[in-house]
């Protein structure tokens, strides 16, 4: 199951809630303001590192670039819109907004 998160973790607890319900192996994709979660060296970096132990983590490139985020936490994969579509094709979607 693909979990998408579109809210900044600094604004709402959406991401942390989502993480509690992840099953091992479920991919997580950050989009829109959700991408602030994966900027390297922020308050949530240790949590992202923990998630990466059991789950692949993606962030949508165009949303990162739009926000000037170039230093993405290690292990987080950047995907373009085609990559987004591939993920949606492969998995049932659970959209946390």
């Amino acid at each position: 199951m693909l979990h998408t998160v579109n809210k900044s973790p600094f604004e709402t607890s959406t991401m942390e809630t989502c993480i509690r319900f992840l099953q091992p192996g479920d991919p997580v994709l950050f989009i829109e303001d959700g991408v602030y979660a994966v900027q390297e060296g922020n308050r949530f970096s240790p949590l992202i590192a923990t998630v990466l132990k059991n789950n692949p983590v993606y962030a949508l490139g165009p949303d990162l670039y739009a926000r000037g985020i170039s230093n993405v936490a290690k292990g987080v994969n950047t995907v373009d819109y085609d990559g987004f579509v591939d993920l949606v094709e492969e998995h049932q979607v659970n959209s946390w907004f």
Binding site: T17, Q23, F97
Partner: protein, 128 residues
């Protein structure tokens, strides 16, 4: 017979996830309306209360003073629409100082891992 099979094949497992407190936004109320509409189509529905969503079920809500009708009682009517799979997240209740006894309906209290497993069994998940 053929039409019955057709109908059975059209039943989807749909989970509604209530994540907002009831009166600050319209999410919960609209979600409840959507559940009632879907119930009319006899889908396999479940409703999960996570985070502030658990406040929707709190006993003793009196909305007269804020000028809205209130809908906690509507959750009690879900049973009549054969919506019987109600789940609440254990830690969401706990961190808000609530127990099952504080809620207007009978729910199954489950861990995040158990609810997460249920999510993987669904055809559709809709957050409210």
């Amino acid at each position: 017979m053929a039409s019955m099979e057709f109908e059975e094949n059209n039943v989807k497992k749909i989970m509604h996830v209530m994540r907002h407190a009831p009166h600050g936004t319209i999410y919960t109320y609209e979600g409840l309306e959507m559940i009632l509409i879907m119930a009319a189509y006899e889908q396999d529905l479940s409703v999960v209360f996570i985070g502030d969503g658990v406040y929707a079920l709190k006993k003793g809500q009196d909305t007269a003073g804020i000028g809205i009708k209130g809908f906690a009682k509507t959750f009690m009517a879900l049973d009549g629409y054969d919506v019987e799979k109600l789940y609440a997240d254990e830690s969401s209740l706990k961190e808000r100082g609530l127990t099952e006894d504080d809620l207007v309906v009978d729910v199954q209290v489950m861990s995040a891992a158990e609810i997460g497993r249920l999510m993987t069994e669904q055809d559709v998940i809709i957050h409210h």
